[in-house]
Symmetry: C2
Subunit: 676 residues, 2 copies
């Protein structure tokens, strides 16, 4: 922790600036973001004794600055020769030659991202010469959505699905007032590549609806605070806002008064927040109001908002998370997994240019294992954002170590049309879409509750910037920055990789098996309850009986969901033989004795993975114990306590899942381990 | 509804007073209760034209009054001759001779109870002559415990397990202020024989603990209001009250300061409420504080409070609902059913004379079917009260018709030592114990949410007074009083009997089978969730697997719970052949193919009862529909809507329970009915 604010510095401890701070650096360029860069460099220099005068070790410059130092001009020329393309507003070119490291940014934000890139490189930025590298983000939209409520919600609390204390923006119905904390947050975001935040929950309640109107000043204060770090503010808005707070009799998107209301409201927003990002909307989903009430569709609803935002360059993100949450569990033909595709594919091409359809990465809801949503490949004429859940609602709620970058990386690298086609990252980039993450940040001293969950936040930003980056390398960056002050960094690095690299698969092993999902306790979603959602209206079933388990989503005999994929996946998932083991129960209902591609039977796989998962947690815990004295004692104690809880909870998962399937199947464990 | 207060008159509509109101009546006796009787008679007379002068049709007199009218003296003499024993404070003698109905009460309360007895009789009180009948309550303590909170509890609300709106005593942290409603409640209680209420929840939170101290005036106001109807007030107190609000460092029952604190607090209570009834305590149960924290036992805890109450004639009711609510579901040797017996039997004889041990009627927790608690027969040297749950936490939450009098009657008539021994009612009466009911009353216009649930409140009082009374006759009384104004009373009577007499068994049929219990949704306890408590810490399991279901509580192979009963039940319950079907799964784990005494297999019985239960609800609903025009339209509409919900919920129970056991057992319904 730093003394400043009593808040952990996350991946920006002072020590991370040692390499820059001890160099001679010049920052060339004007404007507020260049000023931020200049201040960062000055602070680092003050701590580590670097200097501001020539000869420079490091030149940080807006490419358009004139005159540029000779080294910079040379890099610019080299860059043009190597035809890396235009640098772009947020991009930069980096090279080292003749003992000078030169960073040329396409725009002010690029200067900021370039600075933090050099911070990440540390001493490596000042070693051997290297030729010009182009860096630019894969997509323009890299946003964290905060499910933060202004009022404390009677069920969901201050932050819906928040596991890191209260909100950094709001408390008990009012702004939290601690803008220093918000500024520190913006700095962390800039250092991982995030350029936008949504400051309120997609479930917009009465008070929160007024952020768009009489409480707009509260939003503007946040925007002002984040602006120096290139982070733009978005608002989640309620579709019925023209009615409440608006006072109109309708929110019909084709009604002139309604359109005028949105135009007026939006104009006022831009009057106070000129770089406002846009609206996020959850409509006609889980009871939220939407255009259906007026006999209109999603396109009409989204386009109305888009029209209001268009003059100012704002976007509307319209969530595709639309399904029947009052399903009859007896009805096996309705399939929640189909819903987003069925709703939105017919609307492809009907959205305005500044509408972005925001799609959860899987067809259900952020389970530890889902296939990639088929909707992503099925909207070629629509801008798409893929939504990840950084907050660990279904992946251990920041009490379990569950490093999610490998999962996100798998999703981003998935090629819906097979090896020859584009991957998800490419589809999103090609459509000028983006990545959205549900934030895992709260007012906890460690930002994210579990200190190691900071790595998820960091990785989200880095993958949004560079979806093809290796998750292990990203984790490595995070370790190097976060623990820059550690005495035995290499040992720490090895240990943290051993704990975190495989933690998502460990989590998968001790929870719901083979992609079947939703064996969590209803409501709060923490801990196991195998039948918790089995007879519920939520559309989330596993169909276990004494003979077998899994959801038949084939075209041949099931819900036909496999048909929403293009080939080859439509065939792979349809086939009992070719379907990947880890998704088998998502696509097929099989007998317990079905032999997996991995050679084990389904039920034995369940036992094996659940025993293994708990053993892996125990091993991770004991690895962590070995770090006593290597990391800050406070942080060590926090993680140690959380590991105890993870171990308890993993054991509970193991025992409940194993007992459930043993009681159902009657098949004993082949290795004779006790099942309660 | 009457216009008065917009509150339904329940079993005291003006029309119920027609017979008395149209007669010449004299009330002889002094004091406030006699005054209440006089006022009641006067009001009835004013409505129905009766007169106050001789010759009298009805003499209502305290037996000690002198001079008595000749007819009354004659009845007194006859009564002595027939040696009905002393009348007792709350008792009365009733006879009709020579055209005069004479009621002689042993004390003021008896006069009041006698009045309402004559009301119940209606015209039958004034027909043919009949000889002297003695009426007196089976037990002195006939109390309704309100689980009402003063503050709205964040989870449990204003009334814990309340299904009839808010509290009639408290609202949002303060007294409700509507003492007219409290008075009307007291009148209803007197008319069914209840003589005490506990005005706050046994789970005593911070504000409620102060009812004993700075908020005592609020309790006194309730006591003053209920006193004219012979209803005394009890308080639920927190064992740690000497610490908070008391300010002492300990609540150790053997600490002198603690004893002094309780003595002082109790003295202050009696200073304001001279007829205060006593304390109700839930200690060392479900997380409530108790003597265990100080290394003391239940006897020491209860006796300390008893000592404080003794000088004033008060009692302490100490709840026997003590068990491990953090049980490991993997542990099949621990048995919650055993807990109360194991805790309290060793303490028999160690409680002071004014301690009453309050025992839930079953060993678990108010399930629709449980055996009678073995503790009741195992405390010969302890005063016992049996606790019933009038509020329908586990029996449909006043959205389902579930008339509970037949269940309570079965419990009260159960003979723990077999045919030759006393029944539960006799044991309780012999021990100078009592009956306690958890109230089902709230600020709902119908008092109990479901209008037909009023009959449960009425029946509780009547059974507390006369445990041997026939539940059908009690229901008949209730119908006659409540619907005294109905046009076609006989048709209504037949229909309500058809709907209500068997409604508890209907409820049992469509919910948890064969006494296994606890298949409710966790937390709120409404609707089905077969595995909802199966892997929980609450000690409430059914142990269903693919082969069978039920809890082995035998001595031979199970938890040994059957050994807590005396013979013959210790043998009957132990025996798979002799165990009553309806309790089979409470005592035995059996294969699905086990043949019941009734001839069906267990699994087929589950299917049959669940189909039958829903059909019975449908039949009841359609019977109720036929009453349109016979009862008040408001009341008819309320019950009609509730029947729709009951049918929906019963169908859900049927389908979930049947699907669950079909999936587990693989046995199809012998009659080929669809199971989802």
């Amino acid at each position: 922790m730093t003394a400043r604010q009593g808040v952990h510095p996350a991946w920006l401890p002072p020590e991370a600036f040692r390499a820059i701070g001890s160099r001679r650096t010049i920052v060339l360029g004007d404007g507020p973001l260049a000023g931020t860069v200049r201040d960062e460099v000055a602070e680092a220099r003050a701590r580590y004794g670097g200097a501001g005068g020539p000869p420079y070790d490091l030149v940080l410059a807006l490419a358009a600055t004139r005159p540029l130092p000779a080294a910079a001009e040379a890099v610019l020329a080299e860059s043009a020769r190597r035809s890396g393309g235009p640098i772009g507003d947020e991009g930069f070119v980096l090279a080292r030659r003749d003992g000078v490291t030169v960073l040329l940014a396409g725009g002010p934000a690029g200067l900021l991202y370039g600075l933090f890139h050099v911070v990440r490189l540390g001493e490596r930025a000042f070693g051997a010469a290297f030729p010009a590298e182009h860096h630019r983000p894969a997509t323009r939209l890299r946003v964290l959505d905060h499910w933060d409520n202004v009022d404390v919600h009677p069920v969901m609390g201050q932050v819906e699905r928040g596991y890191a204390g209260g909100s950094i923006f709001w408390r008990d119905g009012a702004p939290r007032g601690d803008l220093a904390r918000v500024r520190a947050y913006g700095r962390l975001l800039a250092a991982c590549g995030v350029n936008a935040v949504t400051v309120n929950n997609v479930n917009v309640h009465a008070t929160e609806a007024r952020l768009l109107t009489e409480r707009l000043g509260d939003v503007a204060a946040i925007a002002d605070t984040l602006r120096p770090y290139g982070v733009r503010v978005h608002l989640a808005v309620g579709f019925s806002s023209p009615v409440d707070p608006g006072g109109l009799p309708t929110a019909d998107p084709l009604d002139d008064d309604v359109r005028e209301w949105w135009a007026g409201a939006t104009e006022r927003v831009y009057g106070m927040i000129p770089d406002f990002g846009g609206y996020l909307v959850k409509a006609d989903s889980e009871g939220r109001p939407g255009p259906f009430a007026y006999g209109r569709g999603h396109a009409e609803g989204a386009n109305m908002l888009a029209e209001a935002l268009e003059p100012f360059g704002g976007v509307v993100r319209w969530r595709a998370f639309v399904y029947d949450h009052r399903q009859d569990w007896r009805d096996r033909s309705t399939d929640r997994a189909r819903a987003a595709y069925d709703h939105f594919v017919p609307l492809d091409g009907r959205f305005r240019d500044n509408v972005i359809l925001q799609v959860k990465h899987g067809p259900m809801d952020f389970q530890a294992r889902e296939p990639v949503s088929p909707l992503i490949a099925a909207m070629p004429a629509t801008r798409l954002a893929v939504e990840f859940q950084v907050t660990q609602e279904y992946t251990g709620q920041q009490r379990h170590v569950c490093h999610l970058a490998p999962m996100w990386s798998e999703v981003l690298g998935f090629r819906p049309s097979g090896p020859g086609g584009p991957d998800v990252a490419g589809i999103v980039a090609g459509a000028d879409g983006g990545l959205a993450g549900v934030s895992n940040v709260g007012d906890d001293a460690y930002w994210t509750g579990h200190p190691l969950a900071q790595a998820n936040l960091y990785a989200f930003g880095r993958l949004a910037w560079a979806p093809g980056a290796d998750p292990g390398a990203i984790l490595d960056e995070w370790i190097g920055l976060t623990f820059a002050a550690a005495g035995d960094l290499e040992r720490l690095r090895r240990t943290l990789h051993a704990i975190m690299d495989g933690s998502w698969r460990t989590y998968e092993r001790y929870t719901a098996p083979l992609g079947v999902g939703f064996m969590v306790s209803p409501g709060h979603h923490y801990g196991p309850h195998v039948d918790g959602y089995e007879y519920s209206p939520w559309g989330t079933y596993h169909h276990a009986d004494r003979d077998g388990v899994g959801v038949d989503r084939t075209r041949a005999t099931g819900t036909g969901f496999t048909g929403q994929y293009p080939p080859p996946w439509s065939e792979v998932y349809e086939s009992l033989e070719r379907c990947p083991d880890e998704l088998l129960l998502f696509f097929h209902h099989v007998p317990y004795g079905h032999v997996l591609r991995g050679g084990s039977t389904v039920v034995q796989h369940i036992y094996d993975t659940h025993f293994a998962g708990v053993e892996e947690v125990a091993a991770a815990r004991s690895r962590w114990e070995g770090l006593a004295g290597v990391v800050d004692p406070d942080l060590h104690a926090r993680v140690t306590a959380l590991f105890d809880e993870q171990f308890r909870c993993a054991t509970e998962w193991r025992d409940q899942v194993n007992a459930y399937f043993f009681r159902k199947s009657g098949v004993p464990d082949a290795r004779g381990r006790p099942i309660p």
